[in-house]
Symmetry: C2
Subunit: 459 residues, 2 copies
């Protein structure tokens, strides 16, 4: 019995090993071809330059966002899409208006602070908000002070800095973004008149980082601002000197009714399973203050390239490949929701969904859902990725736009790149084309392309 | 028999596993402490700012290099060195002089090219060199044309670009640097009057990259220049239009007799084996055109930090630790040779030598010599490094300054970081402090510190 098992095992392995080796060799050759294309012929860097420097910031509902939709449609056709589909989606429409102001005064001193309104915030009254302040380090502290009636009538200053001990600034962002997103709702329950939040920033400079915030429809809507890292330091120091100082805040933003925009979906037909999709997407909208280069022009142009590389590397996809430029990721997720809704309606079968929304920096790896065994399959590809310094295949991935597909059993994957510089410029005027490095962007696109090739072959 | 082997194995493993686990847990806690120090208290970024912005470029033999020696001595004491030793070394002394000129003329056209003299080059005559040119793509082509007497009296243009298909620009540098280093010697044998070489650059811009070149004492010494990437493109285009164009070259550099300078060696005494050393070094000298920030101020300040972290993390080294700021790496290796010479004389026992000379970018890993089993030992530490994105433990490492120690059986290690941006600024006026990212520099220092901790514990 033992012997026969051994014999069977032996036959099995002898028959398997050469074919695995052959297959890995072939994959290794094809991945090298894919990288060759990306490092010499890819248009992604040029595409990003056009998007960032001729259109620039493109917040949902703006004329720039609509220009970006038209640009993406053409760029997808240029990349070789068989069809490009503009998928309608409901999006929020918020405008910043004139530059915001924050001035702190206390006996003998006057301090101008660099601030910006958070996306979705109401404006201050025309005369501004003039109030004393209270510095808060946690929601627990807010609750304690709120219950003692010490928040009422005040401007709440959420002063929660990134923890430098975290190895990735992304982790620090995750730990503190709640103060930006939900700080106004929580403070207004205790009668605060406005909030200012320390920017979600890994860099000590004077650029305020905008970003989304929400209101609870049951609440009073209070204006909400981000302070630059430096302004937050200055304010904390001033509050130590005079806890009774007054702040004067002005913002001019407007909330408009929701409007209609589009996801841009470019598709190349699969040869064997045209009704099964591998999708890769980034988001086309960006904040208004910068050019949306790393966030997320990079992800859009990397995704568009997925329509090109098969042909350029002399390969044919078995499944249909979709590149998606999602709309409204930054302040509403209207695009992601619309795609999920149509998926449900049309029963689209996605064998994998990839999102690239972490910047155009040097690739490190992928976060991969365990759904349908994809994580284990991806782990088996580690040796194929090793020559390209793609080392991290981590459990659990995805992204904001593809997240709604998880409920249909779609395995989701988040592309992950070097994170150290991202939150220096995220949601600031400094997120511009010149901050993106051509080869780093291309290497990221090549990593995503290679992953698509492998999923297409082995699923 | 089988049973007893199993039993022995079982006893062995049961006795081993908890102690390994305990030990790894303890290491994991200590490495976390080391990272905590580096990410919150390290002076390496501040040190780099002082070195780059108050001293700046510091080529061997210059007053700036001597200032850097004095600065490093003090910085090592400040970092907690028990002793700091200035180790004399013979260094080359070359000065660039006034800004170089290169002008191409052909009927109706005149083209100014951005060039710089290569380090070690002779100057042109005061009247300049005026000659026709020949473009060369390989030494094989030089040989063929030289033997046909087509090189004589001409300026040789080595036009060998980085291969963008290489995954790291470091590989491209390795493939093309020979044209910079030995191009003049080889061309002069066929009667060339000067050489211009395409910069060793991964970036298409107008900054020429200087770097070392040598002469063979038997040869005529011909002046040697680097062209910016753009200038090399422009020149190649002009040569297509008119292969008979004339180039006019002027340089003003001077070669002085060798002089004496110093390696700066800071040491903390080991508690158990004070006469066995773990050394970590970078080079203090830099090219004259930039500030020597990534190359190699970064390596120097990371090495100096190795004198601090044990105390800050509440640890004591068993072996003595040396931080070395080597002199003259760029154009002579006088410092590395002097250290090896004294090692031989005093029979210093080095249990490991680490070099950090690849820039201050996000760490990726280490190249480790197989000598004395160090590579296999380092591989066993991979799980300890994994939380810090240190993934690459590669066979074979070292560096230019520690290389001469290999003949004594010293296991050498090269610290390796993200390489994509390094050759954009390497040896150019753009290698300045503002190009170095604080956290990336600190993470590199922490990786090196953690490696020293592990070597110290397990050797």
């Amino acid at each position: 019995m033992k012997k026969s098992i051994h014999f069977i095992s032996l036959v099995f392995f002898v028959s398997l090993i050469p074919s695995v080796t052959y297959s890995q060799n072939k994959d290794s050759i094809n991945i090298r071809k894919i990288y060759d294309f990306y490092l010499t012929e890819s248009k992604c860097y040029k595409n990003l330059e056009v998007l960032c420097t001729t259109i620039g910031g493109r917040i949902s509902g703006s004329p720039q966002a609509e220009k970006a939709v038209a640009w993406a449609k053409q760029a997808m056709y240029d990349a070789g899409a068989d069809t490009v589909y503009l998928q309608p989606c409901k999006v929020t429409h918020w405008e910043r208006g004139a530059k915001e102001m924050a001035v702190v005064t206390y006996p003998g001193k006057r301090l101008n602070l660099n601030v910006c309104a958070l996306g979705g915030s109401t404006a201050t009254p025309v005369s501004g908000i003039n109030a004393s302040m209270i510095e808060i380090k946690s929601f627990a502290e807010l609750k304690t002070l709120g219950e003692k009636n010490l928040i009422k009538g005040k401007v709440v200053f959420y002063n929660v800095a990134f923890n430098p001990k975290n190895i990735t600034p992304g982790q620090s962002y995750g730990e503190s973004v709640n103060y930006r997103h939900n700080g106004a709702v929580k403070a207004s329950k205790y009668g605060a008149v406005a909030t200012v939040v320390r920017s979600m920033s890994s860099l000590n400079n004077d650029s305020p980082h905008t970003g989304s915030m929400t209101y609870d429809s049951a609440d009073v809507k209070i204006p909400s601002f981000a302070l630059s890292y430096k302004a937050a330091d200055d304010l904390a120091k001033a509050l130590k000197e005079d806890p009774k100082l007054l702040i004067s805040l002005k913002s001019f933003c407007k909330i408009f009714p929701d409007t209609t925009s589009f996801n841009v979906i470019g598709e190349i037909k699969g040869t064997e399973k045209p009704n099964e999709y591998i999708i890769t997407g980034g988001h086309l909208d960006s904040w208004d203050t910068g050019q949306g280069a790393h966030d997320d022009g990079a992800g859009v142009v990397q995704s568009i390239d997925a329509l090109t590389f098969f042909k350029k590397a002399g390969l044919k996809p078995r499944h249909s490949i979709r590149a998606i430029a999602f709309m409204n990721e930054e302040n509403g997720l209207g695009g992601g929701k619309a795609y999920a809704k149509e998926t449900e309606k049309k029963k689209w079968k996605h064998i994998a969904a990839i999102e690239t929304d972490g910047g155009g920096f040097t690739p490190r790896g992928f976060g991969v859902d365990t759904t349908a065994g994809l994580y284990n399959l991806a782990l088996s590809w580690k040796p194929l990725f090793a020559p390209y310094f793609i080392d991290h295949i981590r459990k659990g991935g995805g992204g904001a736009d593809i997240g709604p597909l998880e409920k249909f059993g779609t395995p989701c994957i988040g592309y992950e790149c070097d994170n150290q510089r991202y939150f220096d410029i995220h949601h600031t005027p400094d997120d511009t084309f010149d901050k993106v490095h051509k080869r780093e962007l291309e290497l990221g696109a090549a990593a995503i392309g290679s992953l698509i090739y492998l999923i297409d072959k082995y699923r």
